[in-house]
Structures are given as structure tokens and as C-alpha cells.
Symmetry: C2
Subunit: 185 residues, 2 copies
């Protein structure tokens, strides 16, 4: 079982300052679609801002009940993976005793404490919550809540400024490949 959390606070901006980013429509759509394709059960959208909860709920409603359901039923199918939370702590606390996933952060900086093979191994065996930061990445206060940090996606040189949407797609693809290999399919 894999869940995903997209964190809008606490994250840093490009100067390293602590900020809260906005929820964006394109993140919800792209990441929900990747989650649905690669078998993620719950896509947690994490923000403490009330207005962003209302916005997210309205977007989901549009595609699950409103005009969008007729226009493109596949979107509602993806967006129904979304759940809202106010903090990463709230996400982690929402799991019942004995169901708590291993919480792994992702980062574009090489601070990984596990190899991708080790994570693949975890993905095959346990419940996993993969945490992504918006802005310039997860702040230390969020990283501290995680059990491990995945190594960054390796590009051809030092330039590694993938969008969070692209990074999610690649990490989920990689994890799905590992699970497929393990199950012999």
C-alpha cells in the first residue's frame, strides 16, 4: 500500500526561508492522475490554510459531481484519491495503530539515507507514505517527521530542477516497477 502526501507547509522558498505555498489546480490534476495510474491509495493534500481546503474541495466536486463528471469522468476517478489534512502530523496520526506507514521524504538534494533499492524493498513489504514538498522542498521540520529520505532523481549533471509533478511521476513509476518485478508480473 502506497500513499502520497503533497506538503504546502512547512516548505522553503528558493532563499531557504520558511513559507506556505498555494495549492495549485495543476498539481491536484497531474498528481492525482499519476496516483491513480500507479495504484496510490490516498493522495494527501497538506495545507493549514482554510481557503485552500475550500478550493480543493470545490475542484474535486466539479469533476466528481458537476459539469466535469460528464465532460471527463476519468478526472473524477483520479481526484477521488485526494484527502485533505492540515499538517503532516495530522496525516501520520490518521492511521490506526498497527497501520502506520513508513514515512519517506523525497528531496532534490542529495541527503538520502536509503538507496532506491532499499526503498523498493520497503515498497514491496510495508505500508508506505511518500512525502513531497512544494516550493523549494520540505523544510527541516517536515523532514524530521519522516523515517527516511529517498535519494534524489539523478539527471545528466547537477541541474535537477524537476517540477514536483514530474518528480512524483518518476518516483511512483519507479516504485510501481519494483512492485511489479516483485510480484513476477
Amino acid at each position: 500500500m502506497i500513499d502520497l502526501a503533497l506538503v504546502h507547509h512547512p516548505v522553503t522558498d528558493k532563499r531557504g526561508d520558511l513559507v506556505t505555498t498555494s495549492v495549485t489546480n495543476i498539481d491536484l490534476h497531474d498528481i492525482a492522475r499519476s496516483c491513480r495510474v500507479f495504484g496510490v491509495e490516498t493522495f494527501w493534500v497538506v495545507t493549514p490554510v482554510d481557503a485552500m481546503h475550500l478550493l480543493t474541495e470545490r475542484i474535486i466536486r466539479h469533476w466528481r459531481e458537476g459539469w466535469g463528471l460528464n465532460y471527463n469522468p476519468g478526472r473524477g476517478e483520479a481526484l477521488k484519491t485526494i484527502r485533505l489534512a492540515r499538517s503532516l502530523e495530522e496525516v501520520i496520526a490518521s492511521y490506526a495503530e498497527g497501520q502506520r506507514p513508513r514515512v519517506v521524504a523525497t528531496s532534490a538534494r542529495p541527503q538520502g539515507s536509503l538507496s532506491i533499492e532499499q526503498i523498493d524493498d520497503i515498497a514491496r513489504q510495508e505500508r508506505l507514505l511518500v512525502v513531497f514538498g512544494t516550493g523549494n522542498g520540505l523544510a527541516p521540520a517536515a523532514l524530521d517527521k519522516c523515517d527516511a529520505i529517498l535519494p534524489p532523481i539523478q539527471g545528466m549533471d547537477e541541474y535537477n530542477h524537476l517540477s514536483v509533478r514530474s518528480a512524483v511521476a518518476i518516483y511512483l513509476y519507479e516504485l510501481a516497477q519494483a512492485r511489479r518485478a516483485a510480484s513476477g508480473k
Copy 2:
């Protein structure tokens, strides 16, 4: 050498009708960033619409010369991979004799004529132009210009509605992995 083409015409909409899609700011940014990370030399933005050429040029200028250069130099670094063309034919004809890449289409439908391993092999040996359709995918008239069609990205079931931004990220990551493996790095 890998180049990429993002085609806005001829593509189909969800009814299968032939349409021309709009160039979107988010496609330019996300795909240019993935191209820069994974070593794509040229990101061809293909549209016959004059206004879309002007829009694309203006966006690039903003991040390469204007206010954006100071604000986030990494964006200009990615966006400089972009070149504009009016058609896939024009892209293909732009390569000098003997430099013509193998042209491979991508598709979410299982119409692939090559396995990913065979494509990996091609990526290691030859010049490659990887072609992505916007909207609901490349129309037959565009597919006919390609030498081969890559198999779709495999999800967990029949739902495979990734955004083109996510699909680009995964295909480029996969090709980069193959090139890295081949070069022994």
C-alpha cells in the same frame, strides 16, 4: 542525442476528432525542465498557429532576458532548449543529411511496435526524436510520420490517463537510465 517534439497539431480530442490544441505555459516549463535534467538537446514545440509562436517566444524571453532571469535563472536555462516549428514534417526536415534522427512516437494506447528494451537500445546508438501528442494524443497523420511507436507506460490497471508532462518525465527518465547503464556510470 535525444530530441523531443511536443505536437499541438495534428492531434485528436477525446471524441477522436482532429483538433489543434493550445500551447500551455505549464507544458513549456515542466517539459523544458525535464528535458534539461535528462539531457535532451532540443525541445521542439510544434504548432501551426502564429499566435502560439509569439506566446512561446514571449514566455522564453521573459525567463531568459527579462525579470525572470534574475528571479529564477534555472528556468531560462531549461527554456533555452526550446525551438519552434510549424509541423512535425518541418522538424524532421530541419536535420541535415546523415543527421536525421530515428523518429519514435509515444502513445497511451497499446499500439507500440517496439519494446522499451529495443528503444533503449536505439537510444544508446542513434539520434532519436521522441514525439508526444497533446490533447488525446497524436492523430494518425502524425503517427504516419514516425518510424516506430513506443509502448505505453504501464500502470496498475487499464486507467492510464497520465498528463503529457508526467509521461514525458517518465519516458525521459527511462531513456536516461538506459544510457547511464550502457555507459557504465
